[in-house]
Structure formats: C-alpha cells, structure tokens
C-alpha cells in the first residue's frame, strides 16, 4: 500500500516556484492497476516522477511525504531517500518514448546487464533474461539484436521485459502505448495486465487515452491543475462520474455516429478556466471507494452537472 501524505511537488525556475502537484492525499492499494488521467500540465508526470523518486533540480518535494510500504532488496523499508537503489528491482519504470529509450548502438542483451542487478553473475542473468523474454512473446534472438532491428511492438515488449524482469512491487508506466498502432497497443496492454496478475504487484499507468483506462485499470485517478479531482474504482468512475472535469474527459471519447463534440468542448471551458478555481479541495467519499474533490466551487459544478 502506497500512501501519499499531503504531497506537494514544486519546480523552482529562477525566482518563481510552480507547484505542479499541490497537496495530494492518496492511498494506492496493493495488487491493482491504477490509471492516471488528466490533461497535459495537470501534474501527472510530476506525480509519477515523485513516486518513482526521480527528484532532480529544479524539481523538489516542498511538502508532505510518500510512504511506500515496501521493503527493498536489503530488507530495509523503501523511502524517497533510498529509492534510487531500488530502481528496477523493487520499483521500475516503463518510459513514455519507448521508441527512443533503447541505446541505438548497443545490443539489447547489453542493456539488460548494464545497470546494477540482483545477481552479479552477468552470464546467469542473461540466461534468465533470454528465457524471460520468450515468455513475453519475444524470440530469443531479440536479445542479440540492435534496437533498430526490432519493430515498435517488440521494442515495447523489451521495455516491459526490462521493467518486470526483477519482479518489482511497483511499476510506473508513463503512457506505455502512445507510439504504437491500435493492434499492438492492445497486445501490449493485455501483456501488462497478464503480468500484473501473475506478479500481484501495483502498476500505475499514465495515459491520455480514456479507452486504455477503461480496459486496463482497476482504479482511476483524475488529475486537474496539480490536484486530484476524482479517485475511485474504474467502473464506478466511468458509470457515474462525479466531477464535471471527469465527465468531460469521458465524454470526449469519440463515439461512432455522435457529433456532439462541440457541446462537450464548450462545457470543458467551464470546467477548466482559472487555475485557482479551488482553494483547498477535499476528497469526499461519495460512494464506497469513490472519491471526488469538493468545495464550494466544485460543488456547484457537480451540482450543475447532475441537475
């Protein structure tokens, strides 16, 4: 179980401070896939970086903390300070631009062993890796290939193989299927779901694609302007969105024969608008396991939307 306690993550640029994630309280249970949605600039990627522990200038944690509730390879609890040692062992990562995330001039097998692993015997690790990628639908020769010799789907499988090889407790997937065509996209998502079921770990999936969230995730987190506006079981969020912004996101999924997009975009202008729309939103549990940000402003929106 991962707990974010009033987490605030900021960027310092010159004299300016930008709060990209602004007071997030969240509990992510074990053994589930959590989808994170929200527009560009809503703070999803910053939140993911903070959870992954990739905190570098000019980004910093300005308030709050993260309880991972995980034990590292050395048996000590994982914290923001020591998480760097646990990368790809306890916590791992599937990058956004998976197409360019493999070094073009070295072979795949070398990219399996050029970081500190759990086993110092590289030969043994490679032997295991060769078997492992077979299970992920890759031919064993893929290990001896250079990245440009693999297709986009194969490369993404390699990324998933790398991320899941040490059976991590938490995987962060930052738009893992953005660059892929729909058929490959589906295969990759199925693979992720399968692996999650086998490993029983937690996967955080960032995506712009509400269709992906609907198919893959158990829980949904909707972010807007650095805050969580809605969080709950995916089915419940999709069936009965409580926040106007969530509704807009769901409604923006194009449906065949539906030409009502103009109306949706108009209401989006109402939902977004001023960043200081809400001083301190509080997540209120409207249904079991389904939270929505509420305050005076949000309430009117929600009320306006339901009426």
């Amino acid at each position: 179980m991962i707990r974010l306690n009033d987490l605030k993550v900021s960027y310092r640029i010159g004299n300016r401070v930008i709060d990209a994630v602004d007071g997030v309280n969240l509990t992510i249970p074990d053994n589930c896939i959590v989808g994170i949605a929200g527009e560009s600039g809503s703070g999803k990627s910053t939140l993911m970086k903070a959870i992954y522990g990739d905190i570098q200038q000019p980004m910093y944690l300005s308030r709050g903390s993260i309880d991972y509730g995980l034990k590292g390879t050395d048996g000590k609890p994982v914290t923001t300070a020591n998480i760097g040692k646990e990368w790809f062992k306890t916590v791992s990562y599937i990058p956004q631009s998976s197409m360019n995330s493999l070094n073009p001039v070295i072979r795949i097998r070398e990219q399996f062993i050029d970081f500190p692993g759990t086993d110092s015997n590289k030969k043994r690790v490679l032997e295991r890796a060769r078997q492992y990628i077979g299970k992920l639908g890759l031919p064993p020769e893929a290990m001896d290939s250079y990245p440009h010799q693999l297709s986009g789907g194969m490369r993404q499988r390699v990324m998933i193989a790398l991320a899941t090889f040490f059976q991590p407790e938490l995987i962060i997937a930052d738009e893992p299927t953005t660059a892929l065509d729909v058929v490959v996209q589906k295969e990759i998502l199925m693979l992720l779901m399968e692996l999650q079921e086998q490993m029983g770990n937690t996967i955080l999936v960032v995506s712009h694609d509400m269709g992906v969230h609907y198919q893959v995730t158990h829980k949904m987190l909707i972010m807007y302007a650095g805050r969580v506006v809605e969080y709950g079981d995916t089915e419940s969020v999709f069936a009965d969105p409580q926040h106007a912004y969530t509704r807009m996101l769901i409604d923006s999924l194009p449906t065949i024969g539906d030409d009502s997009m103009r109306g949706v975009m108009a209401s989006a202008a109402g939902a977004s608008g001023d960043r200081a729309y809400d001083a301190q939103p509080v997540l209120v549990e409207v249904k079991p396991n389904h939270f929505v940000a509420q305050s005076t402003a949000a309430k009117t929106l929600v009320a306006g939307a339901t009426l």
């Binding site: 995330s101 001039v105 440009h148």
Partner: protein, 333 residues
C-alpha cells in the same frame, strides 16, 4: 548484404574521386596562359645572353616537351599521363633538382608530413573528445566549465599566431626546443630517431593545441545534446552508473559525428603542412611544395597536389569504412 553494398559503393566512389582529381590536375596547367617550356627556354636564353642557336632551341624544346609529357594531341597526352601515374607513379623529373624524379622527392617528404600531421591530428582529436565529453556530461558543474573554457580560449587563435608564439616562447625565451630544428637524413639509428622525435615535439604540440579547442567545443555540444536523449534518461532511471552512461551511452553516440569531423580534418592535413613546415623548417611535403612553387617546378607541384588528393581521398575512405564498426545501424540494414 547491406554492408557489402555499402563498402562496394564507397570504394567505387573512391576511385571516381581519384579519377576526377587526376583529370583536374592534368587540365589545370593546360588552361594556364603561360607555357612552361617557353618560359624555361626564355630563361635559359637570357642567361646565355641570347647566344643559343635556333637549332639548339628546337632540340631543347623537343627534350622539354618529352619531360613534360607534351607529345601528341591533348587526348594522347591525357592517356599517357594517366598511364604514367597509375602504373609507374611517375611524375617526371624535377626541374630545380634535375634529374631527380619527382616521385622520389615526394616519397622522401611524405613520411615526415604524415608522421607529424596525422599523429598530431589524431592526438588533438582524441584529447579534445575526452575533454569535451567530460565538459559536456558534467556541464552543470562549475569545474566542467573550466574545461570548456580551455576550448573557447584555444579555438579562435589563428594557427600562425599560435605557432609563432609557441616558437618564441619555447625555443627563444625558454630554449627548451631548438629554434631552427635540424632533421637528420639517411640510415635511421636510435639516436637519430630520438632527435627527430625531440625536434618534432614543438610543431606537434602546436598542432595539437590548434586542433584541440575545436574538438572540445564540438564534442561538448554533442555530449550535452546526447545527455538529453530518451535512452540516456532511461539509463539513468534504470540505475545505470554515471560511468556506464557517460561511456556506453553518451560517448558512443556523440562520437559518430565526431568521426566524420576527423575525416574532414585529416583532409586538411596538407593545408596545415604548408604553414607548419615553413614556420618550423620541417622537411615535409609542405616545404617541397613551397620550394617548387617559388622555383616554377611544375612537375613537383603537380606531383605534390596529386599525392594530397590521393591521401585525402584515402583518409575519407578509411574513416567511412570504419563507420559501420561504430554504428550498427549502417552495419545491419
């Protein structure tokens, strides 16, 4: 398959370049308004106070035209010119040092030039890349910007000023190196070899300094750009060490354009030779070319030009054939 056709194409291109180069060298003197034979005869005539008979002049003209390869029409001359150069590497005799053959003069001077300039170019390239890599990889650190400063300081100094200053500083004010170096000829002995190395140090250091700055700046810029590449960021998030990322990720990728730059600067070696060898009185091809240009020794001049064309084209060929070793995207198409 892709690799084989790459190599075949590149070698084919090499011969095309050589052929075009040789053709231009053949055409150039024939496009000049002065006839070297007339000029030479005029010179002799004035030296002999006009006492040469017209028979003697006619005889001399035939001999000289033979020496210059001017018998027959242009096409016949062209074919025999190509034949002489391709099959026997013969540029005719030198006029200033008659009857010494030009090819022998070039072959004497070439090892000096190549030894000094290739070595110093490669050293400057290697050092510049290493310093540039460190300066670029740690570009956010203060200490690294000192390394970059070295490049910014050295790069804009014109070579002749650098060379003269070095000569003044290290041979005149602090006489560590000889002001006018002597380079022993003949049979190589260990003492002679040591003397040559010692006397070549000053021009060598100057050449390295001159080439070093550009390599630092170029490699630094490439490194900074490469550190932002998604695969380097991903390697960091994988937990790969700084050393692994710097050497296997950033260096391997940033090196590729620098290899092309090396090929280009090897091509410039003969440009450098002229100035370096004049300033340091170094007995290479540059000095031979200068003497030939001053004395109107056409055969030597065209021989030297031909040899520079061959060397530059060969350097480019070698580098291009090395490229697939560094970039698997060319090797496995």
């Amino acid at each position: 398959m892709g690799l084989l056709s790459f190599i075949a194409k590149r070698i084919g291109l090499y011969f095309v370049v050589l052929f075009i180069g040789l053709t231009i060298t053949f055409m150039l003197p024939r496009l000049m308004p002065i006839n070297p034979v007339d000029g030479y005869i005029g010179q002799l005539q004035s030296r002999a106070n006009g006492t040469l008979t017209s028979e003697a002049i006619a005889e001399m003209r035939v001999t000289l035209e033979q020496l210059y390869g001017l018998n027959g029409n242009v096409f016949v001359q062209y074919v025999s010119y190509l034949k002489r150069i391709v099959f026997s590497f013969d540029f005719g005799p030198s006029f200033t040092y008659y009857p010494q053959p030009v090819s022998a003069m070039i072959m004497n001077a070439l090892p000096w030039t190549l030894g000094l300039l290739l070595t110093s170019t490669v050293i400057a390239w290697t050092l510049g890349n290493l310093v540039g890599l460190v300066a670029g990889y740690f570009h956010k650190k203060k200490a690294a910007s000192i390394l970059e400063f070295v490049g910014i300081l050295l790069y804009p100094i014109p070579y002749y000023i650098l060379a003269v200053s070095m000569l003044l500083l290290l041979a005149y004010i602090f006489p560590i190196f000889p002001l006018s170096a002597t380079f022993p000829v003949g049979q190589m002995t260990p003492e002679k070899f040591g003397m040559i190395i010692y006397n070549s140090l000053l021009p060598g250091i100057t050449l390295v300094l001159a080439g070093f700055g550009w390599n630092i700046l170029s490699m630094k810029a490439l490194t900074v750009a490469t550190t932002e590449e998604p695969y380097v960021v991903y390697a960091r998030l994988k937990g790969a060490s700084n050393w692994t990322r710097m050497t296997r990720y950033v260096f391997r990728n940033a090196l590729l354009p620098q290899v092309t730059a090396l090929a280009l600067s090897l091509g410039m070696v003969f440009n450098g030779a002229l100035l370096t060898e004049m300033i340091f009185s170094y007995p290479g091809l540059g000095l031979v070319m200068r003497t030939a240009a001053n004395g109107g020794d056409y055969n030597v001049l065209y021989g030297a030009i031909t040899i520079s064309i061959i060397s530059v084209a060969t350097a480019g060929l070698v580098i291009d054939l090395l490229y697939p070793l560094l970039d698997p995207r060319i090797r496995h198409k």
